[in-house]
Subunit: 438 residues, 2 copies
């Protein structure tokens, strides 16, 4: 993409409306704009990151055997009356009347609809287990939206719902999502710690929140510092229920809990290793048994011919919130430092002298070659000096900067800078291309 | 994907609620389910087709130089007051009050928001031309939703908005979208005829609707039968304004118009070649000049330092409606006949005897090999007889059926059937794989 034809409205000043660094940087880097309180438009650069995050979430869900569907955003209130939640849900639910005065709502979550859709398609024990998921816009009418995408009103969420015949199978479904979440967040360059979370009136211990540590988080969290060492889950066989349970037990031996689920004895045992922090919740896995299937009268025929009420879990990831969480975890004084897997482009190609024929020819050649080989390049071909170009590249945080200037070209070299470390290397053009293709 | 683990609720009976064949077939093939009047859930098979259509639209928009963004679905009424449309828009607009009693709405279209976002990022004549687009859910509260996805209330739309400095440039932007639409619909296997359409109070002749001929369409259309011969637009150079204008003029010499724009003299001239039909509108391109930029006070600095009011066009494609339109155009008595480019899977792999070790081994081998080579396979591994398996494969309309039975396997052959023609070929397994990989 040529920057001269792109739409990247960089802000030089930090907007006063933004309190946290991720919100500030997303505004400054031309990624998002607020269009109403807690509601945002995604500009081209922001949308590219959103799509990358969405892609990773989708791949890991598919790999875990979940099947993608897509529910509408607008639902009937009647559906929510079947579960008893329509009256119970607070003012965060955006309630709507259509032209025929029917009560509708903008989905804040979708347990009811997935339960109905599941029942429509599943009749027998042979149709279980199933895990259905969607990546769709939700709306929660927060009384005080803030922190940009981290507590917005309209947000993109991945929500999955598992259906099983008995508790052992349901636990396996839960474990599959648990390990999928570990992998998902690791691929995005995040240390997201699974913490025991409150299960509310349903009880039990089968709920974990995945929390990214950040001083701007809204939750207080308590954890054993051993969690800060990365956990490699790549070799876990998620198809083998016993092996998976064993792996997850092994992962979870170190203490980590949110405020509501503190265990003072475990904290005392952790001793000096106990740390406290603020955290950003980026995902939650939750087992709730027959709460919805029972209320809504959902059964399938068991292998003995008798009706069975399926047991459910739900599994959420805050897809748009992750943009904020990743920036909170990965930035420096100059701007964003994108992990490779979610960067909007891989390379900023910087032409220091657009009026120099040799520089121009070199840049055009590099742009054509890299693009033809599938490398995502943002080519700064604007008629500007080097200073603003470097500042823009640092601010938007692409993993690599490929800098082409007249002096280097005279010597047959270009400069390659790694954004995360600041390391710069002068090297022949062909070598720079080879490194970017590797 | 193994059918035994998929979610494909096939209906044996044609549902009484569905009046048109595309709606009937989408319900029967387990692609969609209605969740409220005119509101649908996409089941896995339907979502795959939707994603294919979306992918083609995105590729052709990107190729035409449009830049993708994403606007929120919920917008502020204040924004629409700036253009004067809030009161003027009819009861199709879903009006909402949030918890603070602020007037909001579910976007039925997005001229206002794109205009504001454009102004936020574009300050000078150097920032034009630009064409920004999104693929996002819209809501129009139809008084009588019907025909499934073809006239639903919540629907997926691609909407693009171009911004230019003068009429010549705006016409070129219009032409770029025009040719992109020709290519988009051709790739989906559709004959979509561009027809002069009503421009309403704005006037002028720069509006075309792209219409798929179908007896179930809602518009009356009149056209020269010469339009039924395919037009090859693949070689048109869209960067060259004159060449592009010339190509489009050449395409449009034959008469075609919607009811509101009939030209009786042109119809008389067409003589016997004049045909009339019902049609389904799948896209529209529309030039409206400074209607919104003027009302909303949007300017950029011209090359002479004076303010210039940008001229706009808007360009819509009914992404979810296209599912219906394609099925209306491509089906037979047994079910859907997907064009290759939008098929949910390329191949139905049918095991006629899951209890036969040789059949099972052959199928597992074929499934692994095709999948590893990137071929999308729906593998019917259910414990069912051949009859229902063939009926399902015909109904869901995948382009190829690869049939594995004990008799063939004993002779080292499988059967490959082309859904569109019914042509069947017996051939060695390796040859079948080679043909599917070609």
């Amino acid at each position: 993409m040529r920057l001269s034809r792109y739409f990247l409205p960089i802000l030089k000043e930090t907007p006063g409306e933004a309190q946290v660094v991720s919100h500030q940087l997303m505004l400054r880097a031309g990624m998002i704009r607020q269009t109403a309180a807690g509601i945002y438009a995604f500009l081209p650069l922001g949308l590219r990151v959103l799509a990358k995050i969405e892609g990773i979430v989708r791949e890991e869900m598919d790999r875990a055997g979940a099947i993608e569907v897509l529910m509408p955003t607008i639902q009937s209130a009647d559906l929510w009356r079947q579960s008893g939640r329509y009256e119970a849900y607070g003012p965060e639910m955006l309630r709507i009347k259509d032209r025929h005065d029917r009560e509708m709502l903008f989905s804040p979550t979708a347990e009811e609809l997935f339960t109905v859709i599941f029942q429509n398609g599943a009749k027998s024990y042979r149709d279980l287990p199933r895990n259905l998921y969607q990546i769709q816009w939700k709306f929660r009418d927060e009384v005080r939206p803030r922190f940009g995408l981290m507590r917005g009103r309209e947000f993109l969420m991945k929500d999955a719902y598992s259906f099983d015949l008995d508790f052992a199978a349901a636990k396996h479904s839960y474990n599959r999502m648990f390990i999928a979440y570990m992998r998902t967040f690791a691929r995005m360059g995040l240390d997201a710690i699974p913490m025991q979370a409150d299960t509310g009136p349903i009880g039990g211990d089968l709920s974990h929140e995945f929390i990214v540590l950040a001083p701007t988080g809204e939750s207080d969290v308590f954890y054993d510092e051993a969690w800060l060492a990365a956990r490699d889950t790549s070799a876990v066989d998620a198809d083998d229920a016993d092996a998976l349970e064993h792996s997850i037990s092994g992962l979870n031996t170190d203490y980590a809990a949110t405020d509501e689920k503190r265990d003072l004895a475990a904290e005392a045992a952790a001793g000096d290793r106990l740390k406290t922090s603020k955290g950003i919740e980026v995902g939650q896995v939750f087992y709730f048994g027959d709460k919805y299937t029972k209320a809504m009268g959902v059964t399938v025929q068991g292998s003995d011919g008798q009706p069975v009420t399926p047991l459910m879990g739900s599994y959420g990831i805050g897809v748009s919130r992750l943009l904020g969480a990743i920036i909170e975890a990965r930035h420096d004084a100059s701007g964003i430092v994108w992990p490779d897997a979610v960067a909007p482009f891989k390379v900023a190609l910087i032409n220091l002298r657009v009026d120099d024929a040799a520089c121009l020819a070199a840049c055009e050649g590099l742009y054509a070659e890299l693009t033809a080989n599938g490398v995502e390049v943002l080519y700064d071909d604007r008629d500007e000096r080097g200073g603003p170009k470097f500042a823009t590249a640092d601010l938007i945080g692409l993993p690599w900067q490929l800098v082409v200037g007249p002096k280097g070209i005279a010597n047959g070299v270009v400069e390659l800078k790694r954004r995360a470390t600041g390391e710069k290397t002068e090297l022949p053009m062909a070598d720079a291309v080879a490194r970017l293709l590797a």
